[in-house]
């Protein structure tokens, strides 16, 4: 393959919005029918807000390797902790250079990360609040971690500074996009609380199934195409992987998703007697999320193992989060993106290098849990203090479509608003 790497990276980036489309369809399908239009409009709005926030200040803080940055010198080592680019992309030549492509891919990645919490906040998260939260995520939280990993920051430099393998490796964003979005989804679920009627007085959860399995499963197929673009573009742009190796990236991505879906089907078939469509869909996306980090660095057998483990992990994580954490996550965003993404980060350390690589990956994991989780919880808690994120009780009873938009997604269907309310 003798194409210009940057041209190829741009072409792959054009596929990334399909990953967002897939996640939006999955979130809408796993929510209630009376909130379906709201879920899709929220997805569009969140992508729009994330793009603008990233344009205003996100890239200024994410930057790109080789561009100006704030640094500290500790014990003779230089620590790059924040980019120092001007706001509004001022002075940056948008001419197909790697830095300009980083703006484009970063804008899409920020939108993708901001979509993930919509899954955990389904059926009760106000439209305005989800947009405000997306602005905070895309304008500050995501760029901070992305700078540390992809912008020449300290996590990416652990290989150079500390001889820890190749530094923190995350080609397609298992940590930077999926885990950041998934941990934010956990915070949103905590702040919003469960849907009315989800947990009984004794804490027993009620099953509130999604309303459209076809949307969910089609979303999985769309997500695969988007993930292929994301993993290939990230590998070229952030790690300089040769265009010829994009075949390996595409094969690993596909194998990871396939192995995960089959593993989920096998587990649910064994446990419940029949494969569960929504859990298989969650497993598929969990496999994609987990496989992103190592897609360019591992052989296909490892991609299959990583994906299969993710498929099993997601099924048990969905149940554990609902039963033991009392977290109401209608879209399975925490299990799929946080648990799947974190597993992907660890898997690169286990299978993609020596002990030093594992330590670098664990340092990234520690940063996600010890810095990004408290940070995203704090900013969303403060936001909730000034602008209540959860819809009013009446909104939940009537459905988000009628309450916030004034019209339903399926106006010709009879809706029963009290179907899932405990009597």
């Amino acid at each position: 393959m003798s194409m210009n790497p940057m041209a190829l990276c741009f072409l792959f980036s054009l596929l990334v919005p399909l990953a967002g489309a897939g996640i939006a369809l999955i979130n809408a399908g796993l929510g209630r029918s009376r909130s379906a239009a709201h879920a899709m409009l929220a997805s569009l709005s969140v992508i729009a807000v994330a793009a603008l926030a990233y344009f205003v200040c996100g890239f200024a803080w994410q930057g790109f390797a080789g561009l100006p940055a704030h640094t500290l010198t500790v014990a003779g080592k230089t620590w790059n902790w924040l980019a120092a680019e001007p706001f509004f992309l001022r002075g940056l030549a948008l001419d197909g250079s790697p830095a300009s492509l980083a703006v484009w891919l970063g804008m899409l990645s920020a939108g993708l990360a901001a979509l993930i919490p919509l899954g955990s906040g389904a059926d009760r998260w106000r439209l305005g609040a989800s947009c405000a939260s997306a602005a905070l995520l895309a304008g500050f939280v995501y760029p901070l971690f992305a700078h540390w990993v992809w912008g020449g920051g300290w996590l990416g430099q652990l290989g150079v500074n500390n001889q820890l393998g190749g530094g923190f490796l995350d080609a397609g964003g298992s940590g930077s996009i999926q885990a950041v979005g998934g941990l934010t989804a956990l915070c949103i679920a905590w702040i919003l609380g469960p849907r009315r009627g989800k947990y009984g007085p004794d804490g027993t959860p009620a099953a509130i199934p999604g309303h459209n399995a076809v949307l969910v499963l089609f979303g999985c197929l769309a997500a695969l195409v988007g993930w292929l673009g994301l993993n290939c573009a990230g590998s070229i742009l952030y790690y300089g992987v040769e265009p010829g190796r994009m075949v390996l990236v595409a094969i690993n991505t596909t194998l990871g998703a396939g192995a995960a879906a089959l593993a989920s089907a096998a587990v649910t078939r064994t446990r419940f007697g029949k494969p569960d469509a929504s859990l298989c869909a969650n497993g598929w996306v969990g496999g994609l999320a987990a496989g992103s980090a190592g897609c360019a660095f591992v052989v296909p057998v490892v991609a299959v193992l990583t994906g299969a483990a993710a498929g099993i992990l997601v099924v048990f994580a969905v149940e554990w989060i609902e039963l033991h954490l009392s977290v109401d996550d209608p879209g399975g965003a925490v299990a799929v993106h946080a648990a799947g993404g974190i597993w992907g980060v660890i898997a690169v350390g286990l299978f993609g290098g020596g002990p030093g690589q594992l330590v670098a990956q664990l340092a990234g994991l520690a940063t996600l849990l010890g810095c990004i989780l408290p940070l995203t919880y704090g900013v969303n808690r403060v936001l909730d203090r000034f602008y209540r994120q959860r819809v009013a009780v009446e909104g939940e009873r009537r459905g988000m479509d009628l309450f916030e938009l004034g019209a339903g997604a399926y106006p010709e269907f009879m809706t029963h608003t009290e179907d899932f309310t405990q009597r």
Partner: protein
């Protein structure tokens, strides 16, 4: 309990970051990274327990 949990999460990360900045050998860094992660796990358990009580009460 929630605040204590989040403080432990940040403290665990501080251990990992300090180890990366100050230590020079991989075995030492490994030990401190694992210690930092263990601290974070304790913090995460505290945060989860704090929220579990609140969520069940709200549901």
């Amino acid at each position: 309990m929630e605040l204590a949990g989040f403080m432990l999460l940040v403290a665990g990360w501080a251990i990992v970051a300090a180890a990366a900045a100050l230590l020079k050998t991989v075995p030492l860094e490994t030990a401190f990274t694992v210690a930092g992660l263990a601290t974070e796990v304790v913090g995460l358990v505290l945060v989860i327990r704090a929220h579990r009580g609140t969520q069940a009460a709200r549901g």
